[in-house]
């Protein structure tokens, strides 16, 4: 206990320097701003803003990246509440939040979301500072086979959670892994799938894939839809009355607990946490009959869960070194660009970075509250920019973002290729988020797989003999079996509905 307080104090020492405060503030502000823009979720926002951090010292860069991440997350929920523009990351906020806007209670909804996010973030940081170091010790027990199994669990969970269809999601993961194979093979030095193009020798750029699949493809989709949005012009009354304020607290605390827990699990993260918190509020809240029609609880619980999960999902990344969802995978790549390998050695090797980051999360929390609650009306003017002006600008930022990774114009062609691929994926109803995870984990999976096979002299028994990997693979098998069973049951049910006479005769 004292250790943790001591460590946190140490962290605040680092987070509260003028320089780092500034980076945190810039990160939160820019993240919120870009997150507000239609069609740019956290994944696109982070990859778009990644170049900003290149010329910043490591500690500050990590703090700024984290700020960008939760700024983007929060900006998303603001656009969801006021204009019902959902990204993948804020679908739930659209339900009650937008209903409250329709009732003219936008200010109250935004205040609720802001305060609940603050509560959720604070709870999550406490969880983070207790759990991350102890989980890090568990990570030292992991061998290569266990790492492989853990990544497979992550793939299966992410595939199911983000796309709802295991088959589609897994396909995207595998495509991601294959894309990660492009470039020089670390073990043999052989170039794979490079077609002798020099700029592919080091692999496809991560930023190119992210901006292509999430930025360019999203822009094209919005252009196809051609819906003109009416900007939000309503009045905003922010301060709630005391009884209203009292309704926020229990729901937000519930949401924080659920979010903190779900954020840690593989495949977990903000999206699933929001749904879970919303569902539980609907079951147990004192005002459950109002939820769905613009109740405070419907906003508070999910906002707290969202923010809590966004922060606790750092735990597996920083303690075990395996990102559990696509956004964290992107974060990991960003850490690696700055020369930091997240994992059990990070906490011990760079305590200033780790605890500074944890402390800065709370500082970021305060910034977000400050930025969003009193200043939210100024943010909303972003929506007054027509899309015809906005999208060439987003394209420009995509170009600059891609170019400045290596100062290489060829990378823009790669981005264009992935823009087309991303558009295809979107039209084929395949979510690109698992692809991102597969792409970043792919090389690690290969490395660990090869190592495990080398140790076991080519025998697959090692995966079953080691207790950790055996139980993790058991989970995967259980999950796939359950999916298969539910698919068979479902198709049998629809089949029997289509031919009722057969079903009836079977019953009789």
């Amino acid at each position: 206990m004292m250790d943790i307080l001591h460590n946190l104090a140490f962290g605040f020492e680092h987070a509260l320097t003028w320089q780092n405060l500034l980076f945190c503030a810039i990160g939160c502000t820019v993240g919120t701003l870009v997150g507000l823009l239609p069609g740019l979720g956290p994944l696109a926002t982070i990859s778009l803003l990644l170049p900003l951090t290149y010329s910043i010292p490591t500690g500050g860069a990590l703090i700024m990246l984290a700020g960008i991440y939760y700024g983007a997350q929060y900006g998303d929920s603001v656009s969801a509440i006021t204009m019902k523009i959902p990204h993948a990351s804020s679908i739930v906020a659209c339900i009650d939040g937008y209903q409250m806007t329709l009732k003219g209670k936008t200010g109250l909804a935004l205040f609720t979301a802001g305060v609940s996010s603050f509560i959720g973030g604070t709870v999550a940081i406490v969880v983070l500072s207790f759990l991350a170091p102890s989980l890090g010790e568990v990570a030292f027990l992991f061998g290569p086979a266990d790492y492989c199994a853990l990544m497979l669990v992550g793939f299966v969970c992410v595939s199911f959670v983000t796309t709802g269809s295991l088959l589609n999601g897994l396909a995207m993961c595998l495509i991601g892994i294959l894309l990660g194979q492009i470039g020089t093979d670390v073990n043999s030095g052989l170039q794979r799938y490079t077609f002798d193009l020099p700029f592919l020798a080091e692999g496809v750029g991560l930023v190119s894939i992210a901006l292509g699949c999430f930025g360019i493809a999203e822009i094209s989709k919005n252009l196809d839809a051609r819906e003109e949005r009416t900007p939000f012009n309503g009045k905003i009354k922010l301060m709630p009355t005391w009884p209203e304020f009292k309704r926020i607290i229990p729901s937000a605390l519930r949401g924080s607990a659920i979010g903190s827990f779900l954020g840690i699990l593989p495949g977990g993260g903000p999206v699933i946490a929001q749904f879970a918190a919303y569902a539980i509020d609907k079951k147990v809240s004192k005002y459950r009959h109002e939820i769905g029609q613009g109740a405070i609880e419907g906003v508070a619980g999910q906002a707290a869960a969202d923010e809590a999960a966004a922060r606790t999902s750092f735990i597996p990344l920083m303690s075990i070194g395996i990102p559990e969802n696509a956004v964290m995978a992107l974060m990991m790549a960003a850490f690696v660009i700055k020369g930091i390998q997240p994992g059990p050695n990070m906490i011990a090797g760079h305590p200033d970075l780790f605890w500074g980051l944890v402390a800065s999360m709370w500082v970021g929390n305060c910034f977000l509250l400050l930025l969003n609650v009193p200043l939210v009306r100024y943010w909303l003017s972003v929506f007054k920019i027509p899309y015809n002006v906005l999208f060439p600008a987003i394209l420009f930022f995509c170009c600059i973002g891609t170019y400045s990774v290596n100062n290489n114009l060829d990378d823009i062609f790669v981005t264009a290729v992935f823009g087309f691929a991303g558009y295809l994926f979107m039209r084929l109803d395949m979510d690109a988020a698992p692809l991102m995870l597969g792409f970043i984990l792919g090389p690690m999976l290969e490395e660990n797989f090869r190592r495990a096979m080398l140790i076991s002299r080519g025998s697959f028994h090692t995966f079953i003999e080691r207790p950790i990997s055996a139980s993790l693979l058991g989970l995967v098998a259980l999950f796939i079996g359950w999916q298969l069973l539910s698919f068979v049951l479902k198709s049998r049910r629809t089949g029997s509905e289509a031919t009722p006479p057969v079903g009836e005769s079977a019953v009789s």
Binding site: S55, L178, Q181, R192, I219, P392, A393, L395
Partner: protein, 140 residues
């Protein structure tokens, strides 16, 4: 043929085959001493399996029509490639102007005055990036 589920299966199969056949060109080795081609071969094998399952499942599900319009994505991609080419041959300011004018063809209404304003704004932002953030942009 205009069924999204079937197209998806075929698409996945094509990716799996192209990566899988590519992997065969590299040394495979054995499981104990894996060559460069082993892992991609395994992964594309799995992907092929999923592609077949997708095709199989598509037979049991209602067909979903595939919506696809090439115009907007085409314009966006042309503007990106144009930006890269012109920036390389000439300079980035010209690239930005070209990109804005081509991309705006995809918007709901076209006005060259607006394009000019957007382009001017973006060039200003680019100069700010170069001078303030120290990004190495070949602007002039």
């Amino acid at each position: 043929m205009n069924n999204r589920n079937i197209v998806r299966g075929l698409f996945l199969g094509a990716i799996a085959l192209s990566f899988g056949l590519g992997a065969l060109q590299y040394p495979i080795g054995s499981f104990a001493r894996a060559g460069a081609g082993l892992f991609p071969l395994l992964v594309s094998g799995l992907l092929l399996l999923i592609a077949l399952l997708t095709l199989l499942r598509a037979r049991f599900e209602k067909p979903v029509p595939l919506g696809f319009s090439l115009r907007n994505i085409g314009l966006v991609l042309v503007s990106l490639c144009g930006f890269a080419l012109v920036s390389e041959k000439l300079n980035m300011v010209a690239g930005i102007v070209l990109m804005v004018f081509v991309a705006s063809l995809a918007s709901t209404s076209y006005s060259w005055k607006r394009c000019l304003k957007i382009a001017a704004g973006l060039v200003a932002v680019a100069f700010a990036f170069q001078k303030l953030l120290g990004l190495n942009l070949p602007l002039v």
